[in-house]
């Protein structure tokens, strides 16, 4: 059963003299537990698609149905709350809160969800342990390497127990060793938690790990293929 259903999704930017169509009648669906990479050249619409899936931007036409709810028509606080409870985000430049420690960064999202303290503490411990950064719990992000910061970001994205995670070029700023480690950890959590991961990426190592590869070009899906998991 699909978690996300995208129908005729179109996004046109009218901010310049010539309107730019970033997404052109895209139809897609994502099932629970998928590990999907969206690939394509720069400007093909990967980030725009992720923004639409995450409710961060409004489509010009079409629908984004998440478990039967159309987030394209949601507004204000309802949309923010929907994101809080259903979607996890991982950003290219980590985007951790610099004034909070590793623990607090992961805890923060559960604080927004008003989760009980005990539940939140247990989840933080589990996730930081799973991401291999339990020893960094009281450090602030500036004392961590890029790879470690991105692991914290993954833990934060998973902390709210989202239905799916959107990751925009998550390995773009990482060295190859950090990328390998991060991908392994995400793949393990994907299996354990059965969370849908959707990446936009240029990174071949991410593409190799993906179960499904969607290729975009000029805002259109030009290929959508499943691939066998790499060993």
């Amino acid at each position: 059963m699909s978690v996300i259903q995208v129908n005729q999704l179109t996004k046109t930017y009218n901010e310049t003299m010539v309107p730019v169509t970033a997404l052109d009648h895209v139809n897609l669906s994502f099932a629970r537990g998928e590990f999907t990479a969206i690939v394509g050249p720069s400007g093909c619409g990967k980030t725009t698609l992720l923004n639409m899936l995450g409710g961060l931007d409004k489509p010009s036409a079409g629908h984004v149905m998440i478990e039967g709810q159309d987030i394209a028509v949601m507004e204000g606080g309802a949309l923010v709350d929907f994101r809080l409870h259903n979607i996890g985000f991982i950003f290219q430049s980590y985007n951790l809160i610099p004034v909070l420690t590793v623990k607090e960064n992961v805890e923060f999202i559960m604080d927004l969800q008003n989760k009980p303290r005990a539940e939140s503490d247990a989840r933080v411990s589990y996730l930081l342990d799973a991401m291999g950064i339990a020893d960094k719990i009281n450090l602030r992000p500036k004392y961590l390497s890029g790879g470690q910061q991105q692991r914290v970001a993954v833990a934060r994205a998973l902390a709210s127990k989202p239905k799916f995670i959107l990751a925009d070029e998550p390995t773009a700023n990482l060295d190859s060793k950090s990328t390998e480690t991060l991908l392994e950890l995400m793949a393990n959590l994907n299996e354990k938690e059965q969370v849908t991961f959707i990446f936009s990426t240029h990174d071949q190592r991410v593409i190799d790990k993906a179960h499904r590869i969607i290729v975009l070009e000029d805002g259109r899906v030009i290929s959508d293929t499943a691939q066998t998991k790499s060993a």
């Binding site: 923004n51 961060l56 606080g77 994101r83 985000f89 004034v99 805890e107 923060f108 927004l112």
Partner: protein, 405 residues
């Protein structure tokens, strides 16, 4: 956690925050201290007016104060005084005769106001004895003594034990003369008082003016506290319906106007300083918000409601302003307390100060209610200053903000 984040955010750019905290602290300190200085000055003026001239309440025949006519005297002043002293809230009372006269010496002459007092009871309502800069306060073994102000002594070119001839009009309207020896020279904080007022014994003035022994023209009353003044005034007026009973505010309206004006001006003055500082606070908070565009975009993306982002920015503004305010108010409280004890000596400018009835040693003073008002004003200014940057933050679209736009 919002409070924790807001507090830590304030200190992310330590230099920027410290600059505005220092500006708030110094601005408030300057405003509060100058207000305390002005209030201290006016409080002393009130004290001096009450303890050298008017008392808290004064009783006389209606119209007496128009030209100090001896015919408008109280012939039964001593029995009135007994009733006045028994009135609740009255601390002390003294009667005196007051009339205009001419003082002459070989060198000069001057129009003066003669006050015939009972030295002992006058001591209980006036600081005259404390104001003596030389000489003695009516030595008991000497008669026909007079106390005069420093300015008058200079004008008449007299010193201690010099003789002054007073030309007076008796109750019958005849002109009489009497010679008095200067036993003391006083200096108050009001040069006009020192130029005009002279004090002699009432018991020596009464026969000279052919006045009955019980008579007086003015009764000066001191109350237990300033708060008792209105109640005592009303009680005495009820008790003495044929006499005029007035409090110090009516007797010295200029002092009252000065006090109330300065009280209002003090808060306006600090308000102006805070208003100016508000622009600095807005600027710092706006820079802080713009510096964190991506972060605010991330916060809204992951599920932080705009209202919560708004609260976070307001909290940061309040923390920033309050840190400055606490330092500024503490500095003010310490300096006001210190100088309130030691005083600020402005004797180099004493001529100017005394000409308008102010003391040249100023003891800054500020009530707790003023500090409470300042705290309230800081909260209001911080909230107002925080609204613009906070609105700016929540107007951001998450997708644009994440791109740093």
């Amino acid at each position: 956690m919002l409070i924790q984040i807001a507090w830590r955010n304030v200190w992310r750019n330590r230099t920027r925050s410290l600059v505005i905290v220092a500006a708030i602290a110094l601005g408030l300190w300057a405003g509060i201290f100058s207000d305390a200085f002005m209030l201290g000055m006016t409080e002393q003026q009130v004290y001096n007016t009450i303890h050298t001239e008017t008392g808290h309440v004064q009783i006389n025949k209606p119209a007496f104060l128009v030209n100090h006519d001896l015919q408008l005297r109280m012939d039964n002043a001593d029995s009135v005084l007994v009733g006045v002293r028994k009135t609740p809230g009255v601390k002390a009372a003294a009667a005196r005769i007051q009339l205009m006269a001419m003082a002459s010496t070989a060198a000069n002459s001057a129009g003066i106001m003669v006050n015939g007092i009972d030295p002992d009871s006058q001591r209980s309502v006036s600081d005259l004895e404390k104001l003596l800069m030389e000489g003695a306060y009516f030595p008991s073994d000497r008669s026909n003594r007079i106390l005069i102000g420093k300015q008058l002594a200079e004008k008449l070119k007299v010193r201690l034990n010099s003789r002054i001839v007073l030309t007076l009009q008796t109750a019958a309207g005849d002109i009489t003369y009497s010679s008095f020896k200067v036993s003391g020279i006083f200096q108050s904080f009001d040069s006009e008082f020192d130029k005009q007022m002279v004090f002699v014994r009432k018991s020596e003035l009464q026969p000279l003016l052919q006045l009955p022994q019980e008579s007086a023209s003015v009764i000066t009353v001191l109350t237990n506290s300033l708060e008792d003044v209105d109640a005592v005034e009303q009680a005495l007026q009820r008790q003495l319906p044929n006499l005029q009973v007035q409090n110090w505010k009516k007797l010295s309206p200029m002092v009252e106007v000065t006090v109330s004006t300065i009280m209002q001006f003090s808060l306006v003055f600090v308000g102006i300083i805070l208003f100016a500082l508000a622009f600095g606070i807005v600027n710092v908070m706006l820079m802080s918000v713009l510096d964190r565009t991506r972060e605010i975009g991330m916060l809204m993306s992951i599920g932080m409601r705009p209202a919560r982002v708004f609260r976070m920015i307001l909290l940061e503004t309040i923390f920033l302003s309050f840190t400055g305010a606490i330092i500024g108010v503490s500095l003010s409280a310490v300096s006001v307390a210190y100088f309130g004890k030691t005083g600020i000596n402005l004797s180099s400018m004493s001529a100017g100060f005394n000409a308008v009835g102010f003391s040249s040693i100023v003891y800054p003073s500020l009530g707790l209610d003023f500090y409470a008002n300042i705290t309230l004003m800081v909260v209001v200014i911080a909230l107002l200053a925080g609204v613009f940057p906070a609105r700016r933050a929540i107007k951001m679209q998450p997708a644009d903000a994440l791109r740093g736009e």
